[in-house]
Every structure is written in C-alpha cells, then in structure tokens.
C-alpha cells in the first residue's frame, strides 16, 4: 500500500470556549507512521486538540500536514484528506444498524467493502443488522473504530477508546490499534487517561497540563520518567 503519509505539525495552537482558554499555544509533531499519545488529566486540552486537528472547532495557530496548512479546510474536506477522528464517548449512531453505521463512516469514500472490517473485528460479521444501540460498551467502541476505518484514514485520532471498559476489552482494543498502525500503516494519535496502556503501545508521547505541553518524548523514556511515574502511573513501575 503506497500512500503518502506525512508528519502532522502543529504550531501555536490555541482553543477558546468563550472566556475559557482550553489550549494555550501548543506545539506538536506527530511523526508519519507513528502511534503518538497525548496524556493528561481531565480538562488538560487533549480532546480540544484532537477536535481542532479534525476541524470541528474554532482555533488559532497552524495545523500542517507535511508542508501544507490545512487551516482553511472544513471538517469534511479534512476527512477526505484522510484525517479522521473517532470521538470520545464512541458517538455511534444508536438507532441505526451496525451496517448503516459503517456505511455512514464510508461517506467520503466509494469503499463499501467490509472484508477489512471483518478481518479486524470478526464479531461485526454476525451483527450487521443489529441496532447499534443494543451492542455492549466494548462492541460499541470497536464499532466506532471500525466506522472510522471505513473512511480510509491516513491519520486516525482516537479519543479515549478505553473509557469505561473492562481491562480484558481494553487489551483487545490495544491489539486492534497496534494492528491498524502496523499492517495498515495508519498514523495513530491516541488520547488517553489510561497512561500505562497508552505508553505501552505508543512510540511518542506528550503530556498536557492545563492546556500546555508539560513533557514530551519517546514513549519508552516517558514511561521511565520519575514525574510520570509519580503523577500518572501511581508511583509503580510496571
């Protein structure tokens, strides 16, 4: 699969919600082909950063794919350029069937072939006509990822995919994310509060605090950083 994946570079990103300054001049670099994780507490600006990259809210600063700014592109054009967000809280279409959810994800592509999805998520094959709202939490999360994959992303942003799920399900999702990154060559930007899980699969990591980057580096280095261990890993080295 020869697809030109480029680095995503973000310079001086600011996001305001009315008087609230949620993201305060963040610089980020997401290397092509990597899994890059963004860590931090609630309200640190992680989700806002993802939404800004997806084009779903107003921001200032520059977001570049390769050398080109995508600032002027509306959300749907970014999706056509392969920048796809799988939002927090799954956000599947509860009243539609599993299959219709997948087709909605494929809106920008001519791709209606579900074989790739069946390969990654075998359970979906038998559930195509089930109403999505009746799936279990873990299945809903997987459907949300599958739906995002239908858009043929080059850059996939996952906002807290482990939220509210049992450890065994989280492990499944982690395997899926690795597979997406390694065999489909998709750059993954992973926002997580589950620090140990995120650092175990990511290549690079950023730690946000109060809308600013507090720490950044290779995931392996971050995992060994005493501050991270103290604050986010409960002081226990895994």
């Amino acid at each position: 699969m020869n697809r030109d994946i480029k680095d995503i570079t973000i310079k001086g990103l600011n996001v305001w919600y009315g008087p609230v300054h949620a993201v305060k001049g963040i610089d980020l670099k997401i290397p092509a082909g990597s899994i890059t994780t963004i860590l931090g507490a609630n309200g640190a600006g992680k989700s806002s950063t993802l939404k800004a990259i997806a084009g779903g809210l107003n921001y200032t600063g520059t977001i570049m794919v390769g050398e080109e700014s995508i600032n002027d592109l509306p959300v749907y054009k970014r999706v056509r350029n392969g920048i796809v967000l799988c939002p927090e809280g799954r956000g599947i279409f509860y009243q539609m069937t599993v299959k219709e959810n997948l087709l909605a994800g494929a809106y920008t592509t001519k791709n209606t072939n579900l074989d790739l999805i069946f390969d990654i998520f075998p359970f979906i094959k038998d559930r195509l006509n089930q109403i999505a709202g009746t799936l279990s939490g873990g299945e809903q999360q997987m459907l949300a990822i599958a739906r995002a994959l239908m858009a043929s992303p080059k850059y996939l942003m996952l906002d807290e995919p482990s939220l509210g799920l049992a450890p065994i399900i989280i492990q499944k999702i982690v395997d899926v994310i690795k597979k997406i990154n390694e065999s489909l060559k998709i750059t993954v930007i992973l926002v997580e509060q589950n620090t140990s899980v995120a650092l175990s699969i990511a290549h690079y990591g950023y730690v946000f605090e109060n809308g600013k980057v507090a720490l950044s580096g290779k995931a392996s280095e971050l995992a060994g950083n005493p501050i991270i261990q103290e604050k986010y890993l409960g002081g226990v080295r895994k």
Binding site: A54, G56, P74, V75, Y76, V79, R80, V84, L85, C86, P87, G91, I92, F93, Y94, Q95, M96, E100, L103, A104, G105, Y107, T108, I131, G133, T134, L135, S136, G137, Q140, R147, A151, G164
Partner: protein, 292 residues
C-alpha cells in the same frame, strides 16, 4: 360509514404530507418550522400568478414553483437559521415566526385578501362501487392525494434506507457533530432537509388550493393539523407522520359527523395535549433499548 372513512383518509393523507415535510426539517435541523404553511401559501400564490396572469402552462408553473420552494428552503436555512444555530433553539423558532408574518404580509400586500380560484389538477366523475357493503364513492381528487402520499412515502423509505445521502441524513439527525467527523457535509444535509420540507409545503398548497382557494391563510389549518399528525407520530419518524395524519383525518371526520362539525378544529388541540401527556414519544414512538 365507509365513505366517511375514505373522506377522512383523503383529508388525513393531506395532513400526512404536511407532517412529512415538518418531520424532515425537524429531524435534521431540530427546528419546528412555524412558517411552513405560509411558505406553501406563498409558493401557491406564485404558481397561481404564473399560470393565470403570466400565461405559463399550469404544470410548468407547478414545477417552477416547487423549484422555487426548494431554493426558498435552502436560503432560509442557510442565511436565516444557520448563523444563529449555535445560539439556541428558541432563537431559530422566532426566526420562523418572523418569516411566517413576513410572508403573510407580503401576500396580502401583493395579491390582496380576495380568494383566488385554482384549477383542479384532476377532475371528472367519481368512481362509484356498489356491492353488499353499500355504495362507495371514490373521487378522483382523493386518488391523486393517495397516490402522492404513497409515492412520497415509498420514495422516502428507499432513500433513507438505501442511499448514501439518506444514511447521512439519519446520521446528522442523530448526532450532528459526529456525523461531521465522518466527513458528512452537515451544511448540505441541513439545506436539503429544508429544500425538501418547503417543497412539500408547496405540493400541499397546490393540491389543497382548488378546495380551499388561494388566500393568505389558506394553509393555516393544514399546518395545525399537520403538526398534530406529527405529534401523534412522535415527530421523529416518517412512518409516524404518515399514520398520524391518516388517523387524525378519520378521527376528525367521525367527530365532525357524529358529534359536531364545530369540534373538528378543536379535536386536534385536545389530541396534542393528550398525546403529549400520555405518549410523549408519540403513538408509534419506539424506545430503543440502549446499553452503556
């Protein structure tokens, strides 16, 4: 009795058509369009004016009118509602109220309050069936209404179930933000819903015009009844809108016939209250069990 039911169904089918348009706009954009009836009224005036004063062929006038309706729908949504979408639901409602009054004022100003007659699209002797069940009369106009309703219902069912844009419409109606992240151009879906809705209003205007005449208040009653039909159906589904309209039509006819004509109008208001109190999600409201 059978004749009463047929007459009721025929009127009801009109309410269903009104309700379908209202539901489409409400489902997608979340706005109850109070100007709906007057938009249809205004377009009907334009069609009447084209065909009677400008000498344009009636059918061509109708096609032009419906195209104009679509443009009107898109423009109102794009320039009247979308700029204030982020503010509140109430502010958008007020805009539709404003349009209601503007259109009524314009119509009175341009064309006056005098009733104008509008030609029947279809006329001729009614079909009469005789048998053990008695005599059943089916007017050709009823047939036109039924056919329109059936064609539009089937078209909507196929469209929303099996086409990409149809699925996009349902996606936007369920979760606008997420639909956007799927690459769906939410703006064009919103625009479409209003183009469709106002076109339905125009269609209703054209079908109703021979009976109620063209006047500034010609569709006010239809708007109220269509709203009731939509409430009966739960305001969320097209199936609900269709059956809500038919039920209301028959109910109204029976009440008018066996109790009093005078109750015909008030019954819909009573129904709205009863349905909202006892069946808040409509008679056909489906509760989908949703996990986690």
């Amino acid at each position: 009795m059978i004749n009463q039911i047929i007459l009721g169904l025929s009127t009801g089918a009109m309410y269903s058509l009104v309700a379908i348009g209202l539901v489409m706009m409400y489902k997608v954009s979340g706005v109850m369009n109070f100007a709906y009836g007057n938009m249809g009224m205004f377009i009907t005036y334009i069609i009447w004016w084209l065909s009677s004063s400008m000498g344009v062929n009636l059918y061509l006038s109708i096609i032009l009118g419906i195209m104009f309706a679509a443009i009107m729908g898109v423009s109102v949504e794009r320039y009247g509602l979308r700029p204030i979408r982020h503010l509140s639901h109430g502010s958008m409602l007020i805009v539709t109220f404003g349009i209601l009054m503007i259109l009524e004022g314009l119509a009175v100003e341009i064309w006056g309050t005098e009733y104008k007659s509008f030609p029947e699209l279809i006329s001729g002797t009614p079909f009469v069936f005789k048998g053990d069940f008695g005599i059943v009369v089916l007017r050709k106009q009823d047939l036109l209404v039924f056919t329109t309703l059936i064609v539009i219902s089937i078209a909507i069912a196929i469209f929303t179930k099996f086409t990409k844009f149809g699925i996009a419409i349902r996606a936007v109606s369920e979760n606008e933000e997420v639909a956007g992240y799927m690459g769906i151009n939410v703006g064009s879906v919103l625009g479409f819903s209003w183009a469709f809705g106002v076109s339905m209003a125009a269609l209703v205007g054209v079908i109703a015009a021979p009976k109620v005449f063209v006047s500034p208040t010609m569709l006010t009653f239809y708007q109220i009844q269509g709203f009731t039909a939509a409430v009966l159906g739960g305001f969320e589904t097209f199936t609900g809108a269709v059956f809500g309209g038919l039920i209301l039509g028959v109910l109204e006819k029976i009440v008018g016939n066996y109790i009093s004509e005078g109750f015909k109008a008030s019954i819909s208001l009573v129904i709205i209250i009863l349905v909202l109190v006892f069946f808040p999600s409509g008679l056909f409201g489906r509760k989908i069990r949703r996990r986690a």
